[in-house]
Symmetry: C2
Subunit: 209 residues, 2 copies
């Protein structure tokens, strides 16, 4: 199959480690595809800098400069221009517009640092997730890659990876244990997509042999 | 340490496989304790029959015959009579009275056939749990042993075990995969208790070496 064109949508804050994991996997062949464009909300975000350093096309679109509809139209036109097959959210936190979600149905992925449906949904991002897991006293957590739908963390689940939670874990320690599993799960999920092996059936994802 | 006295509280319907797993583990030394009494809600429940077959003391107390307070007093007097150290719920679904919970704080365990907090809480028992997991399309589920507190599935978590969920799983198939992990987790948790190795700190359970 042809290599896929990936757009990675990044946040203003994140360090861009998920972006880097995807870039590395494209470079070493674990993903049959390339990051055609990194789309951010502001130029000086660490992930945007990372893209520029590695000579990956990057575009920042500030949502503040547009109406919600126009903002989504700008995103759509960028995605079209770069002939994007798959959108990967990497720390990107805004809700995408309905038209964009419809256009790229089952072609937008996200990774969540917990075992959805645990510690997921609106407001559950970054360290809030690990704080909640530790506060609840769970003995296992993990990472979930899912297709993005209209709501927060309700889309079809592609892959889940497990990590143990230890009694003395702080949110930082747990985050550091989960992060490599996020990267592993994301790369695997993207490669399965690139191989045409993901089939969404209702709310479930079948992985074809 | 001395062997502990265990009371197993069973339901009217369940087959009593968790009870059997505990009985077996007491018999073969994986639990340093004995089931001193099985308490049920009706004599003809399968789990009660199982207890009688194996010459385990059993008492049925029908909640219908008592006020809520009196029912709990009857349970308390049975638990006292048998010098119970640990109460294990095995399919038992009624909420226990506040006084009983206070008296046996951190000495009442339950096993839930999912990874709490996923697919847990009021109404989530038996096959409802596995139906919900399959409906959500999760890739992993498991079993959780927790101490019982005032609410449903909100107590301190002792052990969690993982099982994969496969695309074509029915609730029955998933239940059959989770059940041995419920037994394993329950036996391990009870033995840790018998060894004095469980310490509840806030909402978390520390397992001592």
């Amino acid at each position: 199959m042809n290599p896929i064109n990936i757009a990675v949508l990044v946040s203003g804050q994140g360090r861009g480690t998920n972006l880097q994991a995807i870039l590395d996997a494209c470079a070493n062949g674990r993903i049959n595809g390339k990051v055609a464009v990194v789309i951010g909300v502001k130029d000086d975000a660490p992930a945007m800098q990372r893209a520029r350093d590695q000579r990956i096309e990057s575009v920042s679109v500030s949502p503040k400069d547009f109406s919600e509809d126009d903002y989504n139209e700008v995103l759509l036109s960028i995605l079209r221009d770069f002939k994007i097959d798959l959108i990967c959210l990497a720390g990107y936190m805004r809700k995408l517009g309905q038209k964009l979600i419809d256009t790229y149905r089952d072609r937008i992925m996200n990774v969540h640092p917990a075992l959805i449906p645990s510690f997921a949904g609106h407001g559950m991002y970054g360290h809030h997730v690990h704080e909640a897991a530790i506060e609840r006293g769970v003995k296992v957590s993990g990472a979930t890659v899912q297709f993005v739908d209209e709501d927060y963390d309700t889309g079809p689940i592609i892959i889940q990876k497990i990590v143990p939670v230890l009694f003395d874990d702080t949110p930082d320690v747990l985050a550091a244990r989960v992060l490599p599993e996020e990267h592993r799960a994301y790369v695997e999920a993207i490669q399965l997509f690139a191989q045409g092996r993901l089939r969404v059936e209702g709310r479930k994802v079948r992985i074809l042999e």
